[in-house]
Amino acid sequence: MQRALTVIHALGLMLAVFSIAYLIPIAVSLVYDDGTLIDFLMAMVWTAGTGFLLWLLTRRYKGELSIRHGYLLVVGMWTSMPAVATLPLLLMINGLSFTDAYFETMSGITTTGATTLSGLDFLPPAINLWRHELNWIGGMGIIVLAVAILPLLGVGGRQLFKAETPGPMKEAALTPRITETARNLWFVYASITLACILSLKWAGMDWLDAICHSFSTMGLGGFSTHDTSIGFYNSPRIEFVIIVFMLIAVINFSTHFLAWRGRSITVYRQDPEALATLGLILGSCVGIALFLWWQGVYTSYWTALRHASFNLVSIATSSGFTSQDYSLWPIFAPLWMMFLACTVASSGSTGGGIKMIRTLILFKQAGREFLKLLHPAAVNPMKIGGHLVPNNIVFSVLGFIFLYFMTVATLVFVLLISGMDFISAFSAVLACANNFGPGLGTVGPASNYSSLSDFQTWVCTFAMLVGRLEIFTVLILFTPHFWRR
């Protein structure tokens, strides 16, 4: 019990700090005078008040956070934050159930970008901005943000950081202090977002749309202010800008930071993940465009290339913007896009899925097995980009992949039991677990998740959380060992 209270103490503080995030929609509602000011102020006061109260009541249990605390706190944070973030939605949108609102905020903060709302174009600007801001915060991570602005997490910060940051190898410290690392990552993230806002404004969006879409682009979230997503603009220039920034966001932000600090782009060449990620995505763009053109979906190769590139990059990077109803394309194309979404995002980026580094590790492991058969005495350590990967990491990656596939399979079965058709269930689970959003069938790009039953919605919500926190962090809470002393 005492352990839970220590965690609640930290959680309270973080909720109170999180309430600062409401300042941006408050500012927007002041500018646009859209009548949401009171609601956001109330939400802010409630969030801050609840957090402060929890913190105050449990201050006797203030203590150092252990590894176990870390997992509990991270999961606690990632479940309670979407809960409080539903407040403005529930207050503003009539008839929205808590289930759908929680799905929406979870989708936002896990950067999935799936939505149950329709009529996005008519929502008050502040509400739309709030959804996008969740995308943005969730992209780099709440805990990373908390570590950056709350030095008092101290030693435990590193544990939390590891529990949240995606990727199998998290020992590479950019700076001696974890707080400093977190700050730098957020600084790089915010700087690139600013560049994205300016580029989108230049490409023809108004300021509000530019800000909203930059938030969801950099977080690789995929929320849009329009029901028809980016297809609304029908502008190659906007699509191009978004493609470029999605590709930036799908690369490890540590690499961006090193490039910025060293003022050189050679670090990208030394990052094996970045090369594989970009190579696979760009190669697929050309290939899928060729396929669509050959299949006669588009009569001109260049049109095919434009639409294939945008939608493929969007799904593969796990953003989830759409400009065309790709569920009408021959099934190979959307399935290939989803397959990419499972594998290509770099660790330490804002993307979802298995991550490129794990894909590379498993590829090399397969190669090692072949070599072992040919040369039984060969010594062949795993190396990625010239760096040694210890065997225990290889094993943990294998464990991760197993859990990943089991989770996907189990959740697909659960959705099938609940009465969903296979292609919808399968694509919905992939879309949620890999945080890319739109699936196929009833959850395809032309429709959204509002047709799901409450139970199915909760299953998808769980899939998003498990996917974003990379399975171990969430599932560990369900193991008996975790609770045993």
């Binding site: 040369h375 039984p376 005495a377 060969a378 010594v379 062949n380 190396k383 010239g386």
Partner: protein
């Protein structure tokens, strides 16, 4: 000359042995008194036990009036500190250190006068690696030595039946290859040097030394034996300093397999190398060699630090069908024994590396020294200075120079261009001259020949 050698290891003792003969006062310092005792038993020199970087030890060893400091202990750091102390406390004129770590070597400023005051750094492993790499590039050659920024090479090759020149007089070299200038410096027949002229007939099994511009080596080799296709598959036994460096040098251009028996070092080697297949096992294990297809190996290098193992695995490899086998052999007695046996090349690390050190110790302006034929002969690169008055070589045609018998002027490198020497070539000041000396006892005379007489100053 007063010479202080720090470290009585492989390099230290060979250098001492070589320099003692040239009438120098030598002191050797090492922490291992047993090694020193053995050295003193054999050679006429002074020894001192102690840590080579401690000022008190250096003082006792007489650093105050030393002309030449040679720091070749196992530790780069000790060598560097010794050089620094010698420079700043005792004003020793010349300081040479053995430096292995590439980290230091990549930052040349570490060695300058503001830092560690190392005049010259040598890395025997690197020299040996480059030497072996050359042998792999020209698998037909017994020895390939480069002079003057790799412009000119001296190549030793065993003539084999089937080469166009074999069985014909040397003067056909010119008619066979009108566009290529080369000069045969010496021919050894049954281990004895023979007098050569245009009419000398090359016989099979002769050991021919020729000098040519580096890009022409392959063409000249073709004259003396049939050329097989270039080497591709390399097998190295022993992942020590040399094996590892060699694998790293070769792995981009060749298929390299490296066999090392220590499992732990295997792991570090494999982590360090990218394209080499590292195999954990014993190089003398016949089954392992067959399993790894030793029969298809073009060049097999046994480079462990155990002579007997090297000999055995090289013999096994040759028997298994390897095209050319090289064995690294420290004991000079073994080297002579094995030359011309089943083992194609018996390499003595000391002979290969000593030349780079000797160049600094020799009198006159010597740019490079290479030991040939297990130390019996030598090839020198000398720089001519002065004018017709002060020098015995400058301004003279080669047939006017009174060079001692046994010394052949092979080539001249003038402002970066290689000129193969003929009897009417005139030597100019600042020329680099490559001289082949087939008997080491006349090296002194050759050096004297190139020294500028006092009038020059």
């Amino acid at each position: 000359m007063k010479i202080l050698i720090l470290g009585a290891g492989q390099v230290g003792s060979t250098v001492a042995e070589s320099l003692v003969g040239e009438s120098n006062d030598i002191t050797v310092v090492d922490t291992d008194s047993e090694k020193l005792r053995q050295l003193q038993d054999r050679l006429d020199l002074r020894t001192l036990t102690g840590n080579a970087s401690h000022p008190s030890v250096l003082e006792k060893a007489g650093i105050a009036d030393t002309d030449f400091l040679l720091a070749v202990t196992q530790s780069d750091e000790v060598n560097m500190v010794a050089c620094k102390l010698a420079a700043s406390l005792y004003n020793t004129p010349t300081r040479i250190a053995r430096i292995r770590a590439t980290d230091y070597l990549e930052r040349r400023e570490v060695f300058n006068e503001d830092n560690f005051c190392v005049d010259f750094s040598i890395c025997p492993e690197q020299i040996l690696t480059e030497y072996i790499a050359k042998l792999i590039e020209f698998p037909e050659a017994l020895q390939v030595l480069e002079f003057s920024a790799k412009k000119v090479s001296l190549v030793a090759v065993r003539a084999v039946e089937g080469g166009p020149l074999v069985g014909r007089p040397l003067r056909f070299l010119r008619t066979d290859m009108p566009n290529i200038d080369t000069r045969v410096a010496a021919i050894f027949r049954q281990d004895r040097s023979i007098n050569i002229g245009g009419d000398t007939v090359v016989e099979a099994d002769d050991e021919v030394f020729f000098i040519a511009a580096t890009e022409h080596i392959r063409d000249v080799l073709k004259e003396l034996r049939r050329i097989d296709k270039p080497a591709k598959r390399i097998m190295i036994v022993g992942g020590g300093n040399i094996g590892r460096r060699l694998a790293k040098t070769l792995e981009r251009d060749y298929q390299v397999k490296l066999i090392e028996h220590n499992k732990k070092s295997c792991a570090t080697i494999a982590a360090d190398l990218t394209n080499t297949l590292v195999i954990n096992g014993d190089g003398t294990d016949e089954k392992l060699l067959l399993q790894e297809h030793v029969g298809e190996v073009d060049v097999f290098c046994a480079l462990t630090n155990d002579d007997e193992n090297n000999i055995m695995s090289a013999l096994l490899a040759k028997q298994g069908g390897a095209r050319k086998v090289i064995a690294l052999i420290n004991r000079s007695a073994y080297v002579g024994l094995l030359q011309g046996s089943q083992i194609d090349i018996a390499l003595s690390p000391a002979q290969v590396t000593i030349g780079s050190l000797l160049a600094y110790v020799r009198q006159g302006d010597v740019a490079a020294v290479h030991s040939l034929r297990r130390g019996a002969a030598e090839a020198l690169e000398l720089v001519a200075h002065g004018d017709r008055k002060s020098s015995k070589v400058v301004g003279r045609r080669i047939d006017e120079i009174e060079s001692p018998k046994g010394a052949t002027i092979g080539a001249i490198v003038r402002s970066g261009k290689a000129i193969i020497a003929h009897h009417d070539t005139v030597i100019e000041a600042e020329d680099h001259i490559i001289v082949f000396v087939n008997d080491k006892s006349i090296v002194r005379k050759v050096e004297k020949l190139f020294q500028v007489s006092l009038g020059f100053f």
